[in-house]
């Protein structure tokens, strides 16, 4: 039995933040119905990344929206809004990520939905909160990375701002939303109460940076300084970083500098005996280390360092990773199938519950594919019951 079996989630959200939260709830067993705009649907269907279109829609849409149903409606049409209201009366959770004011105009703001269903858990994602100077700015991932200082942590000192090359803030906001919704669902089980959960990408971006921003707040406002080369964390000393070798790369996490010098046969490193030099002289040390590691293969270095319990690893791309037994044993990839028989591979939910992998073979929905069934199940019956 999945934890969220028998729960119904009505999801109005688009793109990544909200939909990534409903994907998690779906994998945990909930039934998720996407409310999609007539004729267009979730904009993510046509938001092409990488030029890769699968079965007529973007690869990204397929990754985010598997294991969900699609209900295509015109929210400006009163009849359609009535149908959505019927769904909301039965729902346990509702999610949206419209900009502030939109749900009020459509009549699906928290007070209105709460009047229909007082025990609903209502989740809302925004870029910058609903009551701030920037509330109307677009909640776009790269822009959020840029205005929260996140781009000053990756890359080297002279790289300029470097983005994390994924929509990380969207995913964090989605993860936080899922937590808030799950916590309220638990409260609902115990106390039969509804709840209102709000997250913003800006707050989520700072939660991600809680260690570094806390350091900034208590260190007289000193900015993070990335090392000149091989940086992997602005606040950590040598050797922390990734280094090129004769045939690839090596990631080195910790280890005293003189010990590394001995193990690697690099005498110059043995001079750095003071503990604080690892940080204070990190550029110098990293330069010596980088030159030395180029002289042999990754395998050679690993064979010396691993037996000595130095924390290090080979650097893999996806080809090498997926060929490795350490990856295969995780069973991380699953195949899913769409209503028209189109099949594709994607990753599964990263959480295991009671030893079970939370896989699901259901692919992403075609726009409006479930309209008929949903109407029959939730709306026609209701009308008959009322007659």
């Amino acid at each position: 039995m999945r934890p969220l079996e028998d729960y119904l989630v009505i999801d109005f959200s688009q793109f990544l933040s909200g939909p990534s939260a409903s994907l998690r709830l779906a994998d945990m067993g909930a039934r998720v119905i996407k409310i999609e705009r007539l004729g267009i649907g979730d904009i993510c269907r046509t938001l092409y990344t990488s030029n890769l279109i699968m079965n007529g829609e973007s690869s990204v849409f397929h990754a985010i929206n598997r294991n969900k149903e699609s209900f295509e409606v015109d929210l400006k049409n009163e009849e359609d809004r009535d149908m959505v209201r019927e769904l909301l009366k039965k729902a346990d959770v509702m999610i949206h990520n419209f900009r502030p004011g939109v749900m009020e105009r459509l009549g699906f703001d928290y007070p209105s939905v709460c009047a229909l269903n007082p025990e609903i858990i209502y989740g809302e994602v925004s870029g910058y909160g609903t009551n701030t100077e920037w509330k109307n700015k677009p909640g776009q991932d790269l822009l959020l990375q840029s205005v929260t200082g996140l781009t000053s942590l990756t890359g080297n000192a002279d790289s300029g701002p470097v983005a994390m090359g994924l929509s990380i803030v969207d995913m964090l906001a989605g993860a936080h939303l899922a937590q808030g919704l799950l916590a309220c669902l638990y409260r609902k089980v115990i106390k039969n109460e509804g709840g209102f959960v709000q997250v913003s990408m800006m707050e989520s971006a700072y939660d991600f940076q809680f260690e570094t921003i806390t350091t900034f707040m208590n260190d007289g406002g000193a900015l993070p300084e990335r090392s000149k080369r091989n940086n992997a964390n602005a606040y950590l000393g040598a050797p922390y970083g990734i280094y090129q070798t004769e045939n690839g790369y090596l990631a080195l996490a910790m280890g005293s500098i003189p010990q590394l010098g001995q193990l690697l046969g690099c005498e110059k490193l043995e001079d750095y005996v003071e503990l604080k030099e690892a940080f204070d002289k990190r550029d110098e040390i990293k330069t010596i280390l980088a030159a030395h590691l180029l002289t042999a293969t990754t395998e050679t270095w690993l064979s010396v360092l691993e037996p000595a319990d130095i924390w290090c690893a080979d650097v893999l791309n996806w080809n090498a990773l997926m060929a490795h037994e350490g990856f295969k044993v995780l069973n991380m990839i699953q195949e899913v199938e769409m209503i028209d028989g189109y099949k594709y591979e994607t990753t599964r939910c990263p959480i295991r519950i009671d030893g079970e992998l939370l896989t699901s073979s259901k692919g992403s929905p075609k726009l409006g594919q479930d309209n008929e069934r949903i109407i029959k199940e939730f709306i026609t019956q209701n009308t008959i019951a009322n007659a």
């Binding site: 701030t132 991932d141 840029s146 990756t154 809680f210 940080f279 295991r352």
Partner: protein
């Protein structure tokens, strides 16, 4: 406020970041979290500092991750301590640990044994790479997990080689996933009245972070990500103008947008490079370089004002000093102050989740090692075992 996890007791046997960050989230949602720590040393994070910043005896890092918790000192190798812990476990709702595979089995606190002590426990386990396979005994360290996961080929420019994210992203996402799994476990337990096992690993979590791009890779004939060679590019899979550009006095970030339209607004001639919609991908690197030449000519504020007036998605790139002075930063109430007593105060972040219109403020400072041991012994009547 009526916090959802009020009345729940969490025992945290975890150290460092992944597990304890999940504990912090549960604490902010209302649970009572007790850290079970080794006498004299405690959570290794107490001595793990960044920039050598300490508050009293413990690192600022420890304070950041472990506020709003209690500390109980116990030696898992001491039979008396172990008896006390078993009694405490029998009263708990949740326990979490991040020991390497086999350690808890030796002590007798693995899931199977703990179920006999408490048949309704939610048992959360964090590992580096799962419980089986050739990597199961490797240290679960963030940078190393990033390195093997393919993540390092997504940021920066192609000539940089692998570029790791400059934060412990695997740890933090894994902590988020553990918190989600535990919350789902609580819901399941409420229905079945039985214990639940929740398992996460740093590697599975960092693969989940890459779910969009890995899905693209899996269905695109195994084509690896192709980062741009142009400085400022921000996503291996997105076309120009997506990225950050140097201006006369700083940097501007440009989200995805209609390239010809944007170039007309900023007066940048791309007619030779952009002949059809596909050009934004095909000529991405050259286009980024061309745009960079134009952006260099004026100040950031001027560009942002101009582009925003046309509805183009862009922003000034800020550092912590400029970012934390924004009105929006202040009105979101991102900071809270912790009072450590004796006049010592530190600032840190608040939970990013707002519930029932309220922020989940929790300004209780992190505990000194074993600070709550006597009270917990008394409250749970653990003393008679000594």
């Amino acid at each position: 406020m009526n916090r959802p996890l009020e009345g729940l007791l969490v025992l945290e046997f975890c150290q460092f970041l992944a597990g304890p960050s999940a504990g912090l989230k549960l604490a902010d949602l209302g649970a009572r979290v007790i850290k079970i720590e080794r006498p004299k040393t405690g959570d290794a994070c107490r001595q793990l500092s960044i920039k050598n910043l300490f508050v009293d005896d413990d690192s600022l890092l420890f304070h950041t991750i472990n506020r709003n918790k209690e500390s109980y000192a116990a030696d898992l190798k001491n039979p008396d301590d172990l008896e006390r812990l078993k009694k405490l476990i029998s009263k708990a709702d949740i326990m979490t640990h991040n020991f390497r595979p086999g350690v808890m089995e030796k002590i007798g606190l693995d899931y199977e044994h703990v179920q006999t002590l408490n048949p309704k426990i939610i048992f959360g386990v964090v590992t580096g790479y799962g419980n089986e396979g050739p990597w199961k005994n490797k240290p679960g360290q963030d940078l190393l997990v990033q390195a093997v996961s393919g993540l390092t080929f997504l940021s920066g420019v192609d000539t940089d080689g692998p570029v790791p994210f400059g934060l412990s992203v695997s740890d933090i996402m894994c902590g988020n996933h553990l918190a989600q799994g535990i919350l789902a476990g609580l819901i399941k337990r409420a229905k079945t009245n039985k214990s639940v096992l929740v398992e996460v690993s740093l590697l599975e979590s960092i693969l989940d972070v890459q779910f969009e791009v890995i899905t693209t890779y899996l269905n695109d004939g195994g084509k690896l990500p192709d980062r741009s060679g142009a400085k400022g590019s921000a996503h291996a899979y997105l076309s120009a103008p997506y990225g950050m550009y140097e201006t006369k006095d700083g940097y501007i970030a440009m989200a995805m947008g209609n390239l010809p339209n944007i170039c007309a607004i900023i007066k940048c001639d791309i007619s030779d490079l952009y002949v059809e919609a596909g050009s934004a991908f095909e000529n991405r690197d050259k286009l980024i370089v061309r745009l960079a030449e134009t952006f260099k000519k004026e100040e950031t504020k001027k560009w942002v004002n101009l582009l925003e007036s046309h509805g183009i998605w862009c922003a000034e790139v800020l550092n912590y000093q400029t970012a934390t002075t924004l009105n929006t930063y202040k009105s979101l109430q991102i900071e809270q102050q912790l009072d450590l007593g004796n006049g010592v105060k530190i600032k840190t972040t608040v939970s990013p989740i707002r519930l029932d219109h309220e922020k989940l403020l929790a300004p209780k400072a992190a505990p000194k090692l074993g600070f709550n041991t006597p009270d917990i012994n008394k409250e749970f009547e653990l003393e008679n075992h000594t």
